[in-house]
């Protein structure tokens, strides 16, 4: 298990008026998303998941962590993926344990997102900023902002909305 240093949870990426840093997360072979640099708690390899029946394929497992129940989002299980019905209990996955701030300064909750590679902290300049409407995917409605990285438009996710059930994936 490797842990990443984090700073005081005060930043918000709702606007990209300044140069900021964000973690790039490879959540599937095709998709890269970003979250605020302050929202990753740590990265961890984990293998003990508990299936929750009748949940969406991309969020049908939880893990127990520090006496809490964390939902585990796994976007490698897209609708057409061969992994859709895979039982994952025998596998170890790399997870980003993320902090979910609700904006009222009353602490945070935690969740987990499966990632395929260690996240990269990218410094984003003003001229990389894009409109949310440029996001051509399910992420548009739950993104705070967007920026370009090479040829792709990367959505900056609103974790509160993502874990709050607002994603129509």
């Amino acid at each position: 298990m490797s842990k990443l240093a984090v700073q005081s949870p005060t930043a918000n990426m709702s606007e990209m008026e300044h140069s900021v840093s964000a973690w790039l997360l490879n959540i599937s072979d095709e998709e890269t998303v970003a979250i605020s640099q302050f929202e990753i708690n740590h990265i961890e390899e984990y293998s003990e998941f508990i299936k929750i029946p009748k949940s969406p394929p991309w969020c049908n497992q939880v893990m127990l962590w520090k006496n809490q129940i964390l939902p585990v989002l796994d976007f490698t299980k897209s609708r057409n993926s061969s992994l859709l019905n895979e039982t994952t209990s025998d596998h170890s996955f790399m997870l980003a344990i993320v902090r979910i701030f609700n904006g009222n300064e009353q602490g945070c909750r935690y969740g987990a997102i499966r990632i395929l590679h260690p996240p990269v902290l990218e410094k984003i300049s003003n001229d990389q900023g894009r409109q949310k409407n440029d996001i051509n995917s399910s992420w548009k409605d739950i993104s705070l902002a967007a920026f370009s990285a090479g040829d792709v438009i990367v959505p900056v996710l609103n974790l509160n909305a993502l874990f709050g059930g607002e994603l129509k994936y």
């Binding site: 929750i52 029946p53 009748k54 969406p56 969020c59 129940i69 874990f163 059930g165």
Partner: protein
């Protein structure tokens, strides 16, 4: 533990102690608060399925035949009764009485259980689960419990369910 943002499904109160029924379906344990249980009985005297397109049998209760539903451990609706379903659990929501089948049932008492709703990101589909909770086993290990409520079961069984192929 705390709930996730926007959680709105009502859960039972967080209790200092709770008596709940452990319901086993194909080696998977689910839990039902004792207050939601009307009674249970063995499956030796079941009647025919009602014409509701979802029940697999019926049972006489308080002078009426009520539907019995058979679920898999993943809550798929079955149109047959597996051999290991030995217990008929009668519950109800408001005036409606219904039953589900399970393999075993056991009464348990836990102290200081804190229930929390199923995270909203897991609720895109209908589910009979009401909440999740952590409990400590006799061995000291912490385990996850999945709580059913009579209301969530009723709502689930009233939804657009289809029989799973045998």
């Amino acid at each position: 533990m705390s709930s996730f943002p926007g959680d709105k499904k009502e859960v039972i109160s967080n209790l200092q102690s709770a008596t709940i029924m452990a319901i086993e379906i194909d080696s998977q344990l689910y839990y039902l608060p004792q207050v939601d249980l009307i009674t249970f009985e063995n499956t030796s005297q079941l009647g025919e399925a009602l014409k509701d397109g979802k029940s697999v049998a019926s049972v006489e209760f308080a002078g009426k035949y009520i539907p019995i539903y058979c679920l898999s451990k993943d809550f798929d609706l079955l149109n047959y009764i597996p051999a290991n379903r030995k217990v008929c659990v009668i519950t109800g929501y408001k005036e409606r009485r219904f039953a589900i089948l399970c393999d075993k049932i056991k009464k348990l008492s836990y102290s200081e259980i804190k229930f929390e709703p199923v995270p909203l990101c897991m609720e895109s589909h209908t589910t009979p689960l009401s909440s999740l909770f952590l409990y400590r086993k006799d061995t000291g290990e912490t385990e996850l419990g999945m709580l059913l409520r009579s209301q969530t079961l009723f709502d689930y069984l009233q939804s657009d369910l289809q029989f799973e192929a045998a």
